[in-house]
């Protein structure tokens, strides 16, 4: 079930990038070949970018693929690594958890604005941030649970972690 959900999340991420790319192509064709500039495409691309990153961070990319500094945790023994993982995860849970109510009021406050071209309410556009925070909280609760039961998350996979540099 988890694998199936992960696959669907990947489908969505790939689709968002495809939409972003297609919107750019449409924009170029309209502006330079048809001499008819359109504004909605640039807005769509920016929305796709924001959603792709936060959606992906929430549901697609897992810990081992993200950019992190694992020289210490890689060198540590299993017990130490579990302790380190617990400390980091609990700190993240406390800080993200503490910021969630304020993030909620910021995002819901944005209902007063609408995007310039597509006229979408900004609280809808920005709601992906709340999805992101809640998903990360959920994931780290799960990681803490695994660590407490002695499951070692293992080292990062560098050939998968790509920072784009």
């Amino acid at each position: 079930m988890r694998r199936w959900l992960r696959r669907r999340a990947e489908n969505v991420a790939a689709a968002m990038l495809a939409v972003m790319f297609a919107a750019f192509v449409v924009q170029i064709v309209f502006r330079y070949f048809l001499n008819f500039p359109v504004g909605w495409t640039s807005e769509l691309t920016v929305v796709m970018w924001l959603w792709l990153v936060l959606w992906g961070a929430a549901f697609v990319v897992d810990e081992r693929e993200e950019i992190r500094f694992d020289l210490l945790s890689g060198a540590a023994g299993r017990r130490t690594r579990i302790a380190m993982g617990l400390a980091a995860s609990l700190a993240l849970l406390v800080l993200y958890g503490a910021s969630l109510p304020a993030a909620w009021s910021y995002v819901t406050f944005m209902k007063v604005e609408k995007s310039s071209y597509l006229k979408i309410r900004m609280d809808w556009l920005f709601s992906i941030y709340l999805v992101f925070v809640v998903a990360i909280l959920g994931r780290y609760v799960w990681i803490v649970w695994r660590l407490l039961r002695g499951r070692d998350e293992g080292a990062a996979d560098i050939t998968k972690a790509s920072s784009g540099l």
């Binding site: 991420a13 790939a14 968002m16 990038l17 790319f21 750019f24 192509v25 924009q27 170029i28 330079y32 640039s42 920016v46 929305v47 970018w49 924001l50 792709l52 990153v53 936060l54 992906g56 961070a57 697609v60 990319v61 810990e63 693929e65 993200e66 950019i67 992190r68 500094f69 694992d70 020289l71 210490l72 945790s73 380190m84 993982g85 400390a87 980091a88 995860s89 700190a91 993240l92 800080l95 993200y96 503490a98 910021s99 109510p101 304020a102 993030a103 910021y106 995002v107 556009l125 920005f126 941030y129 996979d157 560098i158 050939t159 998968k160 972690a161 790509s162 920072s163 784009g164 540099l165």
Partner: protein, 433 residues
């Protein structure tokens, strides 16, 4: 600033959380939340900075598009044609295959903006070719792929230069042009080092490709070789915005690989999209974290205080540049490059500005520096990647990397001391420093 100030606490938290192994993007967001919390500020500011920063940085969209373009170009048949072309050019020299590795990286650099993508694209293939029949030591082959990949983001297109354009408000077009000569210089010193050691180490020579075959080999590789022409053409003719130029390059790459080389099936297309999406997500999270943390740095007024301090110390521009180089090189041994670029470089920028250092020059120096950081031990992502791909121990890899590191730092010094090397091409296209 007392020890327990919210800012020191935030920095301490980010460092500690990163050392404990938390993804760096999350560590920066969490540390910034801690700052807002202890300072008694609205914690919703983290969300506000992240969302508005991402939503209004239209320029950043060039990054996924460049990633996508390189991914489309990274197909087996295109890589084969490029390698045949490089082999026809430099294979006949002693150490020919090693030279091919560098030339291939230079060419791929003009299609891709990422060093790690370059190493991933050609690493396995080059490793197989170079170590077949024990022609080259495995650790040398892996080290060479690592150092030659460094050229990728210095020759345009370049993801780090897009990031620098964003933080420094400098023109992407001029930055891209400025990277060309330093990138070629890095390639030249690497090729020089190979040539200088080839005889002593008894590197093999490839069977020479007859010159009359050169036109055919070139013709076959031509559509791929034209990609930078499309990109730079769109960019400098002023027809399109930089982001649209990136999209045009990606569209061209897709057309070339789908129709000319017929190497794309639907499945491949999906895989390219997903791989690019993953990379976009990873770098996007680093950008997101940096956006939030940079807000903290800005309200603490760190960059301006540093500029005032440096000004009071009457540091010469050259002195500052050298100091910045040493700092970035040292940090590059321990930190991830995007983080250095997005967090440390903005702190240095106002000082560079106050000392009258050209922002384009400073950007290229910083990016060359950060790219070299990808192959400096103990923390060098390209080293880790080649360790994994080639299966050689870090110790052997580092031993082979060191001579290259020496000549590359020499090239960096030259680029730092002679701004004209960087600024010549931009000035030719109308840049006024």
């Amino acid at each position: 600033m007392s020890v327990a100030s919210p800012f020191a606490l935030a920095v301490g938290a980010i460092v500690a959380l990163s050392l404990l192994g938390l993804p760096i993007g999350h560590a920066m967001i969490a540390g910034s939340v801690l700052y807002l919390w202890t300072k008694g500020l609205d914690m919703g500011t983290a969300a506000e900075q992240l969302l508005n920063g991402m939503y209004t940085s239209y320029l950043l969209l060039a990054i996924p598009l460049f990633i996508l373009a390189a991914e489309f170009m990274n197909s087996g048949s295109i890589m084969d044609r490029l390698l045949r072309f490089c082999n026809a050019l430099v294979g006949r020299w002693r150490g020919g295959l090693a030279q091919v590795n560098v030339v291939q990286s230079i060419i791929f650099a003009s299609m891709s903006g990422s060093a790690l993508a370059d190493a991933a694209a050609s690493g396995r293939l080059m490793q197989t070719l170079m170590t077949k029949d024990g022609r080259y030591p495995a650790s040398f082959a892996a080290a060479l792929t690592a150092v030659s990949s460094v050229i990728g983001p210095i020759i345009p297109p370049s993801i780090p230069l897009v990031l620098y354009a964003l933080i420094s408000d400098t023109s992407i077009g001029y930055l891209f042009l400025a990277g060309v000569i330093p990138g070629l210089l890095l390639g030249a010193v690497q090729m020089g080092l190979i040539a200088a050691t080839a005889r002593r180490r008894n590197f093999p020579v490839e069977p020479a490709v007859p010159l009359r075959e050169l036109p055919r080999v070139t013709w076959e590789a031509l559509p791929a070789l034209l990609m930078p022409v499309i990109l730079l053409g769109c960019l400098y003719s002023g027809i399109t915005t930089p982001t649209e130029a990136a999209a045009a390059a990606a569209a061209y790459a897709l057309l070339v690989s789908a129709f000319l080389y017929r190497s794309v099936r639907w499945r491949d297309l999906y895989d390219s999209l997903l791989t690019s999406a993953r990379t976009t997500i990873s770098i996007g999270m680093l950008i997101a974290g940096a956006l939030v943390f940079n807000y903290v740095i800005t309200i603490e007024n760190i960059p301006k205080s540093l500029a005032a301090l440096m000004k009071a110390a009457e540091l010469s521009p050259l002195g500052f540049l050298l100091m910045a180089n040493l700092l970035l090189l040292a940090l590059g041994c321990f930190l991830e490059g995007t983080t250095i670029l997005l967090v440390i470089v903005p702190v240095l920028l106002p000082t560079a500005h106050a000392l009258g250092i050209d922002p384009v020059h400073f950007g290229v120096v910083a990016v060359v520096n950060i790219m070299i950081g990808l192959v400096t031990p103990p923390y060098g992502l390209l080293l880790f990647m080649m360790m994994k791909i080639a299966g050689v121990p870090l110790k052997d890899l580092v031993r082979e990397v060191l001579p290259f590191l020496a000549v590359m730092i020499g090239a960096l010094a030259l680029v730092t001391l002679v701004p004209d090397l960087v600024l010549f091409l931009p000035r030719l296209m109308g840049y006024k420093a």
